[in-house]
Structure formats: structure tokens, C-alpha cells
């Protein structure tokens, strides 16, 4: 329990902050170095010993890390156009746009559905099994059909991909919203009852704020899911501008330029982490909770 009585002095707090930040950066460098060492060490050992299990190691299957980084600054083999990094940044932005719109659509729909399911038990009985089984639909297989169908309604292809992304996004939000709304503290509900508060007031002033930590932990999962949805929505739909298109493309020339695919995946990974961090930042602003209660 932090009491205000013993407020630490500002300079002491700043020193502690600097120290913990330094420790974190040190840890990050250490982890990256260990990962790099692992990769290169594994490569070196497997190639030297000629081991082929679980897979053959060579410059195609496991390119050098520095080669992957160097590939980012290489011009395309045709000799014209931007270096790979610039192309990838464009693709990342394109996919990020799809994912962001899909995330917004999916999170909104997922939240509203969660609220509806918690408010009407009959609806919950009728729909919840399908909400769960909806996620077993292989969205990759449905994606081209969705893009073609929405295309016939004159919807832009990137928006169709956003719709596909929203399909993967809504599920965690619905489930956690429902769980959060149903796990409201019993006495907090009694308090609202003692005020003769209406259903809307209870929802708005108690249940939803109390469910926010649950909702945010779902949004963190959904942030990544929206990017997964965007990438696997682009891949089979012949959309070339995004990361999914790049992955399909570079996959075809993998034996020639394996670094390109790795570099693309690196960007995808960074995009995923960026989305996640963005949600975490919004969470710390929105959810003012006791530090130990933050899951």
C-alpha cells in the first residue's frame, strides 16, 4: 500500500528512474546479443559438423544476421527503385493501415457484442458457441472469397483485408469483455443497488470501468491478431502493396534472396510489437489502477 505521507523526493525518484531505465536498456542489449550469438553459433556448429537434423543449415535456411540487415539497404536486383528498407516501410504502412482499421472495427464490434451477450442471457446462450467456433474457420481460405465478394460491392481491396483482420480481432475482445462484465465485485453491485441505480448506470458507471483491465488485456492480443489478419488476408488476395504481398513474393524467390523474406518478417515483427506497445501506452493512460492490480 503506497501512502502519500512518504512521498519520495523528486530528485531521488528521478535517479531511480534513470537507474531502472539503464538496467532495462542493458538487458535489451544483452538479450539481443545472446539471440545473435545463438543464431550465429548454431549456424557455425551445424555447418562445421555437417548436421542435418532437424534441418540443413546453410546460407539459404539461416542467412547471417548482418546479411539480413545489409539486405535492407540494397537496391532491387533490377537496379531501379528504392532500397528494400524504403519499400518495406511503405508496405508496413499499408499493412498497418489495414490492421488499424480492422482493429478499430473488430474491437468496437467485439466490445458491443460482449456487452450485449452479458446483458441478455438468452443471446449469450444462442450466440456464444458460434463466437467460439467462428475462430476455427480458416480465415486464410475464406479471405479471397471475402475480397472478391466485397470487391463486387465496389469496396477497396485494402478495406476488405481490414474486414478480414477485424474477424480475428473481435473474438478476444468479446470473450474478455463478457468475462470482465460478469466478474464485477458483488458488493460494488450491492452499492449500486442501494442507490437504486438503473441498468444503464450500473453498466456505464460500474461494470464497464471494472471490466477495463480485462478488455485491455484482450486488446493487447487483438493488436497482434489484427496484423496477422491483415497479412494472411493480403497473401491469397493478390494484394501486392502490403507485407503479406511481399511475403508471398519473396517466398517465391527465397532460394535466390532469402535475406529479403527475413527482412520482411523482421518488419512484420516490429510492426506487431509497435501495435502492442501502442495499446499498452493507451492502457496506462486510460486505466488508472493500483499498480499491483495491473495484470
Amino acid at each position: 500500500m503506497a501512502t502519500i505521507a512518504a512521498e519520495p523526493r523528486a530528485d531521488r525518484r528521478r535517479a531511480a528512474f534513470v537507474r531502472s531505465a539503464a538496467a532495462r536498456i542493458g538487458m535489451l542489449v544483452l538479450v539481443l546479443a545472446v539471440l545473435w550469438g545463438f543464431w550465429e553459433g548454431y549456424r557455425w556448429l551445424w555447418i562445421r559438423e555437417g548436421w542435418t537434423w532437424p534441418f540443413v543449415v546453410d546460407s539459404t535456411t539461416m542467412p547471417h544476421i548482418h546479411d539480413i540487415l545489409a539486405a535492407l539497404f540494397r537496391k532491387p536486383t533490377s537496379g531501379t527503385g528504392d532500397i528494400l528498407l524504403v519499400q518495406l516501410l511503405h508496405a508496413t504502412w499499408f499493412t498497418a493501415k489495414e490492421a488499424l482499421v480492422g482493429f478499430a472495427l473488430g474491437a468496437t464490434f467485439g466490445f458491443l457484442l460482449g456487452v450485449a451477450l452479458s446483458e441478455w442471457r438468452l443471446l449469450q446462450r444462442g450466440l456464444l458457441p458460434y463466437v467460439v467456433s467462428s475462430q476455427t474457420v480458416p480465415i486464410l481460405a475464406v479471405a479471397p472469397i471475402v475480397v472478391v465478394y466485397l470487391g463486387s460491392l465496389h469496396v477497396a481491396p485494402w478495406f476488405s483485408v481490414a474486414v478480414i483482420a477485424s474477424y480475428l480481432t473481435f473474438f478476444p475482445v468479446t470473450i474478455n469483455t463478457l468475462r470482465g462484465l460478469q466478474s464485477t465485485d458483488r458488493r460494488a453491485l450491492e452499492l449500486m443497488r442501494s442507490y437504486a441505480a438503473g441498468r444503464v448506470s450500473v453498466l456505464w458507471k460500474l461494470r464497464i470501468p471494472a471490466a477495463l483491465p480485462y478488455i485491455f488485456s484482450a486488446l493487447k492480443v487483438s493488436a497482434t491478431a489484427s496484423i496477422v489478419g491483415a497479412i494472411i488476408g493480403e497473401a491469397p488476395s493478390s494484394i501486392q502493396e502490403g507485407l503479406g504481398g511481399f511475403i508471398v513474393n519473396f517466398n517465391q524467390y527465397y532460394s535466390l534472396n532469402p535475406e529479403n523474406l527475413w527482412a520482411t518478417n523482421l518488419m512484420a515483427a516490429l510492426l506487431g510489437i509497435a501495435f502492442f506497445v501502442a495499446v499498452v501506452i493507451v492502457e496506462t493512460i486510460v486505466v488508472r489502477r493500483a499498480p499491483e492490480n495491473v495484470a
Binding site: 503506497a2 501512502t3 458488493r187 452499492l191 443497488r193 442501494s194 442507490y195 437504486a196 448506470s201 489502477r289
Partner: protein
């Protein structure tokens, strides 16, 4: 007119447990009534029935002359639980103003009242703190301020100081008496502590379990206003002893334990 009027109230839970049976009690204006009894005597259940948080299976409850559900709808009482039940995501000030928001007070009136309440519970300057930044005693004071904020005629308190340490608890007791004086409300107070019940109340209602019944009602004729010195008066100890004996008489187990000892005496 009685503020609370309980007539032949009984409560049997689903599954057959009888929590309360034949409860008769009338509580007048400006009274401070404590409900005391061992675990399972139904004192919290009775408090919740008065607040219409649960419905009795027999009998009637009237608050301010109205049926309990109507009184709840009219926001005639405030309630304080054992835990402060503050909303983590609201500041102290916004926690206190919660019932006012629900009663659709405008912002200016709310701010004025919250300031008044913060002064009453001596938490001025803490309005923008979050609950988790306060100590247990301070949290409970916020909870009392919230219960009193809309000026209810009746204050229901369910072991409000049960989770606090003895010293904080005694200070909170004095504080509560001051607030009771200042606000002029009627208080129904559930507690485990005999000393607390005697020190605070004008009347102590002793309950016994299985099924929950009222086994005794003891008038507390200690002088008002009470101070820390009241706890050292001989009359205080007499009354504590009376309540303790009433509690033990109400308990089957104690009756059995006491019986052979009583026979042995000449």
C-alpha cells in the same frame, strides 16, 4: 414515527437454510442501533433486508414509513460495507460524488457537496487521490462520506471497521460519533465487537444464531456526547458485561457449557 420498522421478518434461503425468523424491531429518529451476534446469526442479512438488497421471505420492512423497495428507490439510506468498496478508477472526490451523479445533481452542486463531505470526514486535500493511495482508515472515511453525501435519513453500516486495527478503529469510532452528531442521521450498525457496540450505540440488539433471532435488546444509557474517557467509566464496563452475558445466553453451545458449572454452584 420510526425510521425503520421491522415486522415479523423471516428469511429462508434457497436450499432451506433459515437465516432469520420472527424479527421485530423499531428504530426511532436519531437512534444509533447496533446489531451484534456471533457468526451466522443473520445480522448482515437483516441489514441487507432493511436496505432492500435482499428480499425477506416473510414479514414487512418499512423505512421512513415506506416499504423498503420504495425507500431504496427514493434513496432514503446510505450504506457502508466492511471493505470500503471504492471504485479504483475514480478519484476520492468522484467516488463521493457517485450517488450524486446517479441522483442527477448538477456539477456545481456536486462539487460543493463533495467539499463539504471531505471536510466532515477530515480528508480535505485528498480529493484527487485514488483510493489505492490511501490507508485503510482513510478509505473507510471516504466510504462514509459517500454514504452521507446525499443526506440520507438512515445510515446502514455493515461491520465498517472490522478490517481496521484496534487503534484506528477506536479513532474511527469517535469520528463516527462526531459525524452522527453533525449529520443528525439514524444509524444501524452491524458489529462483532461488544466494546464497539456499547461505546457507539443508544441501543444494542443482541442476536443469536440457528435460526437468527433477536435474543435481547439493551438500552445504553451512557452520557452523550461520548469521549475517549467513556471507555473507562464503570458504567461502560457494566454494560459491556451485560451485552456479553446476553450473547452467551443466546448461544446454545454456551448454555450447554455453562449449565454444569451453574449446577455446581450452591
Amino acid at each position: 414515527m420510526s425510521v425503520v420498522e421491522i415486522k415479523d421478518v423471516g428469511k429462508t434461503f434457497e436450499g432451506g437454510t433459515t437465516a432469520l425468523e420472527g424479527i421485530e424491531l423499531a428504530i426511532g429518529e436519531r437512534e444509533f442501533v447496533s446489531l451484534i451476534g456471533p457468526s451466522g446469526c443473520g445480522k448482515s442479512t437483516l441489514l441487507r433486508i432493511v436496505g432492500d438488497l435482499i428480499r425477506p421471505t416473510a414479514g414487512t420492512v418499512r423505512v421512513n414509513g415506506k416499504p423498503a423497495p420504495q425507500a431504496r428507490a427514493d434513496r432514503d439510506y446510505g450504506i457502508v460495507f466492511q471493505d470500503a468498496v471504492l471504485y479504483d478508477w475514480r478519484t476520492v472526490a468522484r467516488n463521493i460524488s457517485l450517488p450524486l451523479e446517479l441522483a442527477r445533481w448538477n456539477r456545481r452542486r456536486r462539487t460543493g457537496r463533495v467539499q463539504e463531505m471531505l471536510r466532515l470526514v477530515e480528508l480535505g486535500g485528498f480529493e484527487s487521490h485514488y483510493p489505492w493511495q490511501l490507508s485503510g482508515g482513510m478509505q473507510q472515511r471516504v466510504s462514509i462520506a459517500r454514504a452521507l453525501s446525499f443526506d440520507p435519513a438512515l445510515l446502514l453500516m455493515d461491520e465498517p471497521f472490522g478490517a481496521l486495527d484496534e487503534m484506528t478503529r477506536e479513532r474511527m469510532n469517535l469520528e463516527l460519533l462526531r459525524i452522527w452528531e453533525a449529520s443528525g442521521s439514524t444509524i444501524v450498525f452491524v458489529t462483532h465487537s461488544i466494546a464497539e457496540a456499547v461505546f457507539l450505540s443508544t441501543r444494542v440488539v443482541v442476536m443469536s444464531p440457528r435460526p437468527g433471532r433477536i435474543s435481547d435488546v439493551i438500552e445504553i444509557d451512557l452520557q452523550q456526547p461520548r469521549t475517549a474517557a467513556t471507555r473507562e467509566e464503570p458504567r461502560f464496563f457494566e454494560l459491556v458485561t451485560r451485552v456479553r452475558e446476553a450473547l452467551h445466553l443466546g448461544s446454545d453451545l454456551d448454555r450447554k457449557l455453562a449449565a454444569p458449572a451453574a449446577e455446581a454452584q450452591p
